[in-house]
Amino acid sequence: MPAYKKCVIVVLLICFAFFVYGCKSTSSENTETEQTTSGFKFIVEEKYSPAIELVSVKSVDATVKFLEGEDIYNNIWTRTYAEELGINLSYMWVVDNSQYQQKLTATIMSGDIPDVFVCDPLLFKMLYDSDLIEDISEIYETHASETTRMVLEQDELALPCTTIDGKLMGVPITDASIANAPLLWIRQDWMKKLNIDPPESMQDLMEISRRFVEGDPDGNGIKDTIGLAVSKELWGAYAGLQGFFNGFHAYPRIWIERDGELVYGTIQPEARQALAVLQEMYKNGEIDKEFGVKDINKVAETIANNKCGIEFGVWWNPYSPLYLSQANYPDAYWQAYPIPSIDDTPAKSQYSAAVGSIIVVRKGYPHPEAVFKLLNFWCDNFLFSNDKELRDAYLGSLDNPDVVKYKYTDFHLWEPNSILRTYENVKKALASRNTDGLNHDEWQRYQIISAYFDQGIKEAWVEVATYGENGSVSILKNIAQGGGMVNRFYGAPTRVMSEKMAALHTMEDEMMIKTIMGEPLESFDTFVEEWYKLGGEEITREVNDWWRN
């Protein structure tokens, strides 16, 4: 019967498909390619013998590329760890960065906890509350090498971030906190063209913004430029408003000390003053009429399009997105300035502890000290190494710039102060024209900056505007020496905070955008009241309790 035959054929085909796939998945076992690590001498305290197993999880992103025949499970780092430290590092899974937290949560909930892994502060707190991670205070004292400790303690906010109830529960992955302090960026070529002096005060800045709108700085005869770039996210790493508020001594989104208590910056009266000025600027067309719907990528287009001349952002802005401006208009040059002030008191740039992720050890993992062996290995052998061969082999080489090898491992720390030191060394070298004693990275920057001045290579402005003598890093130095306002709250999110802060932030942003776009300033006052009512009061209490302890 043909009908039966057809069914039988379909069923057989499906069985066959299952069968083929079953076979395929078993036959595609990893073919291990044995490559030895070339003969570098490493400083290693003690090698595990026999070798131990360490299961982790890993996030990668589109920038992680491998050499032919290698992958995340088998690369120079995994091989070296096995050979030099006796640690067989393997991964339960590898996932794209964007889904890392979600997948990690799913994995932990399903009962599989990796031995050592990276998590964010929120999950860190949850893991601590559920008693799933190991207290590493003692291990830190006994096993962290001198260099590792130096790096971790250099930023005084780093270790406190991962200390709960006096116990060190994780290793903070450090970055320089001051790196997120906002600076003022202005199109210097426009200022020159319109004969404007650098801003000394906030009033000057507003004058500049006005003239950028009216003076036709792009020279196309049409009044199509705006002053200040603002994105709808308001607090981004570029085109943000923190810096503007700081000029009025207002510190949005962070906790500051006032009269012996911690208070939330956004709801202070100074913020109202700043908002009033922003509202005025919006009315005069100095802020994009459509800023409320433009995300930072859209703002980057405005910048690239030669349409705006002022933005508040962090020190690395020239690398992205400001380089676009020069790429399209070769004469464009953005210069960083310290935040000007509205009155005689100097303005302070706000910044927060830069601990975005934390390395933790599973409770009950038999070799918790392995985490410091891995970190020591990095800090003692790579962090300060100038050995070009070593750097090429383990960090990535210029011949193959796409393959950045340190991204294969999570066990690397960066020295928070390195930006400032690089700046000092490059500055010295530029003054004396003597490159002795520069490390590889500094030497490269030196070369690029020299190319700008000696050969007039305009693309090199990016380095000049950052590590150059008057570049953005020179301002960071000031901020590091007390010219900044640090977020006084750097603990793990408190209970009510993790529940309600996100909603309060949304409310805050909506109020800001609406007020700037013309709603009466009273909406700021109602917002403050609402803020307290909808959880702000409890959060303030929690934060102060945390602070007093």
Partner: protein, 294 residues
């Protein structure tokens, strides 16, 4: 008979065409825009100078895509997923729809089984149980993890059940009188009549497999095994601007590279664009063609 073309009628025609053209244009514009972006120079694209015509035409980004292993791998995984998933979906849809469309006298447990299927639409266990089931059944990290859990698309089953029900009982009875079995009735009568619905359901299931990205990200343990849309998600994602650090700079460059992004988006669209015209005709030929006469 000829319509007398009154001014009102002409106005209506103009308005009608105008509105329809406008609607079509709004649908077509984004596609053209992406295509134009993918063929423009990257400075033109990043400064927003591209609308529907390429600016500073070049095909650099397509070359990048062709040389980009990750994209091609992901494309292959997606193709594999559709090739395996759609036949399994269709077979199981048909096999579950037929009994459920029977009358109660023919299939006593019908109510139970109808609810058995419906419950899965109404309630779900949530992400963690879903993940655990897949993990414990050993499907994790295999292509079957994306196929077996969704093997019976209940919504499609309901569509097909409803269509089967609308087929006049006389057809079936006549066949039954002639000695046809259930198998015979299903294969020889129901399926040929239901071609339009089957086409719709096939398209749904194909789209579903082609477009889903979340399961790939969560269930695969290595980016090498991502289906196309999961891979796409990793390049079109926009980062939270408040937590950007200088270490994200090179990532920022990649994800803000509009031209290669657009090229990949465009290529990912092609298979579905190709399938649509062939199945489209079934949507328009009306769902109740054929059947009984007199």
């Amino acid at each position: 008979m000829k319509f007398k073309k009154s001014p009102g009628y002409i106005l209506f025609l103009i308005m009608n065409y105008g509105v329809l053209f406008f609607l079509a244009a709004t649908c077509f514009f984004p596609i053209l825009h992406v295509l134009a972006l993918s063929m423009s120079s990257s400075t033109a694209a990043s400064s927003g100078r591209v609308l529907i015509l390429p600016v500073e035409f070049n095909l650099q980004s397509y070359r990048y895509v062709i040389e980009n292993n990750a994209f091609l791998k992901a494309f292959a995984v997606s193709a594999e997923r559709v090739a395996l998933g759609v036949p399994i979906n269709m077979l199981l849809t048909v096999l579950s729809a037929y009994p459920l469309s029977r009358r109660k006298e023919q299939f006593r447990m019908k109510t139970f089984f109808t609810w058995f299927f419906l419950i899965t639409i109404l309630f779900s266990g949530g992400m963690i149980p879903w993940y655990m089931v897949i993990k414990e059944t050993g499907l994790l990290d295999t292509i079957w993890a994306m196929i077996i859990p969704g093997a019976v698309p209940v919504f499609n089953v309901i569509l097909l059940v409803n269509y089967f029900r609308s087929i006049p009982a006389e057809l079936e009875e006549a066949a039954y009188m002639d000695g046809a079995s259930h198998w015979c009735i299903l294969w020889k009568i129901f399926l040929p009549i239901s071609v339009p619905t089957l086409a719709t359901v096939t398209l749904f299931s194909m789209l579903n497999h082609w477009n889903s990205w979340f399961d790939g990200l969560i269930l695969m343990n290595n980016p090498d095994k991502y289906p196309l849309q999961s891979y796409m998600q990793t390049i079109v994602i926009s980062r939270d601007p408040t937590t950007l650090t200088e270490r994200d700079l090179d990532l920022l460059k990649i994800i803000s590279d509009k031209t290669t992004k657009s090229a990949q988006l465009f290529i990912a669209m092609i298979p579905i664009i190709c399938v649509y015209p062939f199945l489209q005709k079934y949507f328009t030929t009306g769902l109740i063609v054929g059947g009984i006469k007199g």
